[in-house]
């Protein structure tokens, strides 16, 4: 279980069961393209969060001219980094780097694993 505390302090903390909740329909075609491209840049079985962020940023820049990634919020272990437009971001979790859907600074749901 990943304990997530968002930037919105009034929201307190939210618990997510990262391995069982999946909503692939929340990903747009652009999101899927970027995520697949970023995953292709990661070949190690164990990926450090910094490497995942670098791969995601490169994938965004290669897919979108002028594309940027942002800090969408934070968890007890570190930041959520991703797109402010789509709200899809990644976070370092105990079981590996995880995909989340964040809106208005609040984690709405887990979208499964980003990297092992």
């Amino acid at each position: 279980m990943t304990q997530v505390k968002t930037r919105s302090s009034s929201q307190g903390s939210i618990s997510l069961i990262s391995t069982t909740v999946r909503h692939p329909g929340a990903l747009s075609a652009r999101d899927r393209t970027i995520i697949n491209l970023a995953r292709g840049k990661l070949r190690d079985t164990r990926v450090e969060f910094g490497d995942a962020v670098r791969a995601l940023r490169e994938a965004v820049e290669e897919t979108i001219s002028g594309g940027r990634v942002f800090v969408l919020g934070s968890t007890i272990v570190g930041p959520i980094v991703g797109s402010l437009i789509s709200g899809v971001g990644i976070v370092d979790a105990a079981a590996g780097v995880e995909l989340l859907y964040v809106r208005s600074g609040i984690v709405r749901r887990s979208l499964g694993r980003f990297a092992p």
Binding site: G50, R54, R57, G66, L84, G87, S104
Partner: protein
Amino acid sequence: MRGTLEIDLHDPTLTPPIRSIIENWAEVDWFAPSGITDEEGARLFREHHESARRNAAAHLAANVEVRSAIGGWGEFVTWCTRVRRPSAWDWKYSVLKPMSTAHSKALGWTANALPQASPLILRVGEAGKEVVIWRGLYPNVGELPGEPVGECASFYLGYAHSDLVGCIEWQLAENHDDLSSNPYVPLIRCYGSGFYPFCLDAATVVMFRFAADEDALPRARLVSH
């Protein structure tokens, strides 16, 4: 409603023009009725358009048709839906984002140039292999109303926020205090004046503003949670 921002405007690494841009952004009263006329709103957009054309002439028409629209959340959702269709021309991806990147590249500026302690960025990863990420200044306006209003409002805030980052990056790359040639500054003023541009193509923009009629604009739903 004014969003809360997670930044200390007194941070010593913020230069006066950057502080000024962020202050104007913080003052935006999101989704509130405008306090200026349609003509003044149109003038602000034309100011942006002319400035942007000086930097991205190939992507923007010489003359832009500015249309006015007024309404409540229903109309706002309709305009958001229209510009988000997969076949629609995308103003941000077609013009504004590439323009910002091209400008920074031409001036040799990257976010790596920001001070280590800058509140605008976060450095992720091991020392020596750090990745610099924009923290962003997304306005936290609290819990937005139910769908599709909340999702559309969130979409628009995200797109407007990309203009803010473009504005900041432009000025950092310019490395001077004069904001007059920054094409994103008039856009931030549009938002601050209660006008929400929806660009339909390179030559047509709809300047939407919320009606002052409280029945048409259920603001109470936005602030109650």
